[in-house]
Amino acid sequence: MRVRITFSKTGALRYIGHLDLNTIWERAARRAGLPLAYTQGFHPQPKMNFASALPLGFSSRCEVMDMRFNEDMDLISLSAQLQDAMPSGIGILNVENIDERAAPLQTQIISAEYEATLTETSDVSELKRKIDDVIASQSLPRERRGKFYDLRPLIERLELNSENKILMRLAAREGATGRPEEVLDVLGIMIEHARVERTNLIFRN
């Protein structure tokens, strides 16, 4: 059985990276006594797929993953058992059955939306001007881990809402993923002065 799980990641678990999150899910399934499916071979891996890795330090209310089990189960009790076995910080929001042959999640995701709450007060009009500059720009050459790339085409939407939160929609296709901390950096905002939450994942269709 293949199930699609939507979950939130908050609190202490914000500081846990993507690889460690894999282990957290695997162990939760084992603690819950669920028949998680594993790959064949010398080093069997649990059959789990995440739509998009969430960068360390960000919370999320919209993570999506697929998990495969060796047996069919009732979705409501599956959801409850998994939630009971989870460390606090993971909240299961939705569980649904999915066609075994459906395309893998990571090939279906197009973009991701983020909301950055500023924890240090800043000059709103100055910030608005910077956002306008980014939107007006043709390209934003950036360097990350020694690689040069253009951030501009990865920014699909960028705005300051009425509560002075920065909303952004960034490309999240395989090989073309925009990172919110890069956008904040362009706006002159240090990462420790913003709380970033992923609010929505956008898929094909």
Partner: protein
């Protein structure tokens, strides 16, 4: 003192700027967060190295569970922050805090450090300082927590005497409740310390004064108050209590990401270099059913993928075959890796590992320790070459491609010929393996350097010199230069530091303090090795490091740790040392009691707990008629 909310707000500002912030946030499955305001006594348990190493420590886990089972107490955890985090915390004035409730450590009533090895000493000072607590016991007052330590390094607590209020000697399971009760029953720091000093197994340095002779050795130790023990005899539990099952499940990858079940405590082999084997006596075993049920409960409670069945010598567990059968039966078909370390070099061990094959990954580890008959007799670990060759050949034949062999250099009176024999044996193991399994076989030789530890038969001998160690390692590196042999060794500087710290007296405390002030910490980590800072600290206090390490001790010398007793008679240790010089072997003491001192010291404990879990043989000795036995009774050495 910063409140938890203020600490959390500060953390938010820094956690994204440090490596692996998951070390510093807690929130793990099986961690216990109680209502702070509703609990009388707050205890912080600290492993003074980073989270990645400390979180899986079994000793602290036992105490964590035990304290948290009390309605009137809570236990939380803290570890040493890595230097990047420490710098950030100091920069923002964030004190070290507990992972569970984020309370500053200075707000706890009691802080307990685990000190399993000596290279954690500078970290211990650093942690107190980072917590805003005066590092010296004498500088603390009613506003500060009581600071205690336990663990194998407390076998010689003297180098840390100035910093700890008290040490727990021996096993902590019973004594921790006594300590909490005393803290609850007394108001002022002074009253608490006086009451704590009277708990059996608790050593409070401030009530003992050490007098020295002109040559720097100790003349005697004076007790400064009535009603305290001299020597302070270790505490033990008569029977091993139910082992922990709800292990903390780290949210990040750590060094030992597994559940551990202690199958047996103590060892009867009597290897003369082995401090653990001497100080953890007597041997007490758990039942097979208890072990297997515990393992299953722990796996279910954690979801972990690895199980370690721990003891000092698994092969000596009375029902090891039954244990392995039951474990492989119970976990058949489940994704689980099982490790059963410390197996003896004999074919039975391979049968055991074969049964665990489904659950086994990695190589096979054996510990011959020495490679000549003379050395093997000296250290009392006698395994003939042929047995090593036959066993390793069989391991390779059955399909394991890598074998790890542990050796030690620097044993008493060792020569270059003895070291050459280690290289020769390794090469022979490999070439015999190739005959049965082809060219793919590999060997890992782990060669550490011996440190003569307190409370062992070798406490009288000197540490090998730096020059000798270097010459021996050079020989090994030259001889074992083979791409199918991996050689690992201990840097001589690390060995000497371990020796200074484990053999030191009270004057070492000032050296430790200065070394820490000079910037030493994480001494167990290669990248933090600061030998010169240590040498400078010795010079600053006019002490010669060689006094502690390279001096053959007089047979009647009073050691800095002689007023601390692991219930081993000094005369027993000395007889064993003498037999070592004569190349005499002592057999497994389950077969023949050598009167180490355990039975007379714990005669009552044993009598109240009959049965087979405790593995000392029955002996008729004068002590069995005495009501109260003390460790200083001179018994004839049976079996001499």
């Amino acid at each position: 003192m910063l409140k938890p909310e203020e600490i959390e707000a500060g953390l938010e500002q820094i956690l994204l700027k440090v490596e692996r912030p998951g070390r510093y946030v807690g929130g793990e499955i099986n961690s216990i967060v109680k209502d702070w305001d509703k609990v009388q006594t707050k205890v912080a348990l600290i492993f003074p190295d980073i989270y990645d190493i400390g979180v899986s420590n079994v000793g602290l886990k036992i105490l964590y569970d035990q304290i948290n089972q009390r309605q009137d107490a809570l236990a939380e955890r803290a570890y040493a922050p890595w230097p990047d985090m420490e710098a950030m915390m100091r920069g923002r004035g964030i004190p070290l805090y507990s992972l569970e409730s984020k309370h500053a450590l200075s707000g706890f009533d009691l802080i307990g450090f685990s000190l399993p090895y000596e290279t954690l000493y500078t970290n211990t000072l650093n942690i107190l300082d980072l917590a805003g607590i005066p590092v010296r016991s004498a500088d603390r007052d009613d506003a500060h927590p009581i600071i205690i330590a336990g663990g194998h390094a407390a076998t010689n607590p003297e180098p840390m005497y100035a910093f700890m209020d008290a040490f727990v000697i021996g096993e902590g399971e019973e004594v921790i409740d006594d300590i909490i009760n005393v803290i609850q029953a007394n108001k002022t720091r002074e009253e608490k310390l006086h009451a704590l000093a009277r708990i059996p197994g608790v050593y409070m340095p401030k009530f003992y004064q050490v007098h020295y002779m002109d040559d720097g050795t100790i003349s005697h130790v004076e007790t400064l108050t009535d009603g305290i023990a001299n020597p302070v005899v270790k505490r033990i539990v008569a029977q091993l209590p139910p082992p922990p099952t709800k292990f903390i499940v780290p949210n990040i990858e750590v060094v030992h990401n597994r559940v551990s079940v202690e199958i047996m405590r103590g060892c009867t082999r009597g290897c003369r270099f082995c401090q653990a084997g001497m100080i953890t006596r007597p041997v007490r075993e758990r039942s097979v059913d208890e072990i297997v049920d515990t393992a299953e409960a722990a796996i279910n409670a954690t979801g972990m993928e690895e199980l370690a069945l721990l003891s000092l010598s698994s092969s000596d567990f009375s029902y090891v075959v039954e244990l392995v059968n039951k474990v492989s039966e119970r976990f058949k078909g489940r994704k689980l890796t099982i490790s059963l370390p410390s197996l003896r070099i004999e074919s039975v061990s391979i049968d055991l590992m074969d049964k665990l094959r489904e659950h086994y990954s990695g190589g096979f580890t054996l510990a011959p320790e020495a490679a000549t008959e003379r050395m093997r007799r000296i250290i009392n670990k006698f395994i003939p070459d042929e047995e090593i060759i036959n066993t390793t050949r069989e391991i390779y034949r059955r399909g394991w491609t890598t074998i790890k062999l542990y050796f030690m250099i620097g044993h008493p009176s060792e020569t270059l010929e003895d070291v050459q024999a280690i290289a020769d044996l390794c090469k022979r193991v490999l070439s015999e393996g190739r005959k049965v399994a082809g060219m793919k076989v590999k060997l890992h030789a782990g060669v550490s350097t011996f440190v003569p530890k307190p409370q062992t038969p070798f406490q009288w001998v000197a540490v090998d010199t730096r020059e000798n160690i270097i010459a021996k390692q050079k020989l090994l590196k030259h001889e074992l230069n083979d791409r199918n042999i991996k050689l690992s060794w201990t840097e001589p500087e690390d060995t000497l530091l371990e020796a200074w710290l484990s053999r030191g007296d009270r004057r070492m405390a000032e050296v430790i303090y200065s070394a820490w002030k000079n910037g030493t910490k994480f001494d167990a980590w290669n990248e933090h090795r600061k030998t010169q800072a240590w040498l400078d600290a010795f010079a600053e206090h006019g002490l010669d490091p060689a006094f502690y390490t390279h001096r053959q001790r007089r047979t009647d010398e009073i050691f800095p740790w002689d007023h601390i007793s692991a219930a081993l008679r000094k005369n027993f240790l000395f007889q064993d040392f003498r037999q070592s010089l004569e190349g005499k072997i002592r057999v497994d003491c389950r077969l023949n009691c050598f009167a180490c001192g355990i039975l007379p010291t714990f005669a009552n404990v044993r009598r109240e707990n009959p049965g087979e879990a405790w593995k000392c043989p029955d002996v008729k000795s004068p002590s069995s008629t005495k009501q109260l036995a003390v460790s200083s009774i001179n018994l004839p050495v049976v079996g001499d």
